[in-house]
Amino acid sequence: MTDLQATKRRHPAMIYVPAMLIALIGLADAVYLTVQHLTGKSVKCTVTNGCSAVLGSKYAMIAGIPTAAFGALAYFAAFSLATLAVFGYEQARTGLALLVVPMFLMTCWLFYLQAFVLHAFCEFCLLSAAMTTTLTALVIAAKFALPAPDTNNQS
């Protein structure tokens, strides 16, 4: 194995293992919020004061489905793609890069709603925003730090 080959093998894990962990935290957060929504319980904030205002607002549902449920699906997809990327599935890297774009845009929109429409912040939503932002940063870092995915050379 040449030095170049070793570098190619080492680097994806350095970026995508943290991405897996970040997606896992986001998944746990989103599953928790979805369950709380479905059971009709209000989430108690310990750092901020706006959980009920945010999670009880009309923006907490999209087409009758809890917004957090979409987050859970997105984080699970991100986790799956990051895991595949760690194991050398290079198309998964492209898939993850495509997935984080709508996730990040949605995060920006939800942050805007909290800051300027609802004037209330929910710490669980802020945690999710932080996870998506970190995930986006990792994907951007992968673009610069790793060689471009070779889609003809799947492992």
Binding site: V31, Y32, V35, K41, N49, G50, C51, S80, H119
Partner: protein
């Protein structure tokens, strides 16, 4: 084995997410630590000729609006023997203006006019429940009650008012409240299915006689 490892990891995480979600769902029961005020609790254990009637209400809920005049009549009849407490329990998923109405009542409270706003909201429920924009109506209510309107609007959007509403909701949920109106009499839940104005008076009389 290595070829299948990522799929095994993904499958395990999927399974864990489902199991954790199901576990949280099945163990999600109302807490019972919170209690409603009782005359004894408020007078340091001394028996008092006071019945505390606590309502968890939603200003946009029609049954709450129907109960409102009955509670007013009860208050007029019993005077200082009955105290009415109101806790906000806006059902935001079915009532688009419930949260705004609760915030308006709590904002009016900042200027000492909670009950005036409370009455106005319930008594004009039919007028505002279907409007698209609630804010001009609330501003008009604030003017009718001679509130400092600018202050009212600031308080309406304040974290303090939102936290107060959220605190009421959390209190209700901890007590197992799921709908509105839910009434507690001296801290004891009244069965909403059988609750009528007459039953309410009987319950109050029973407690006043027992004190």
């Amino acid at each position: 084995m290595k070829r299948n490892l990522p799929f095994i990891i993904i499958g395990v995480v999927f399974g864990l997410a489902i199991v954790a979600g199901y576990w949280m769902f099945s163990t999600s029961k109302p807490q019972t630590k919170t209690s409603m005020p009782t005359p004894q609790a408020e007078t340091g254990g001394q028996a008092a000729k006071l019945v505390v009637l606590s309502e968890f209400g939603d200003y946009q809920c029609p049954p709450c609006g129907a109960l409102h005049p009955e509670l007013k009549k009860i208050k007029e009849k019993y005077g200082s023997q009955v105290r009415l407490d109101f806790y906000n329990f806006p059902l935001t998923r079915i009532h688009q203006h419930a949260m705004a109405a609760s915030q308006a009542a709590m904002a009016a409270k900042q200027q000492g006019k909670f009950w005036e706003m409370h009455n106005l909201l319930y008594e004009s429920q039919e007028l505002w429940k279907d409007v698209s924009d609630m804010k001009p109506i609330l501003k008009n209510f604030a003017q009718q009650l001679k509130l400092d309107v600018e202050q009212f609007e600031r308080d309406f959007d304040s974290l303090q008012v939102k936290a107060a509403v959220a605190s009421d909701v959390q209190r209700g949920e901890a007590l197992g409240v799921t709908g509105t109106p839910t009434l507690f009499i001296n801290g004891q839940l009244l069965d909403s299915e059988t609750m009528t104005a007459e039953v309410l008076r009987t319950e109050i009389d029973k407690r006043l006689a027992g004190n």
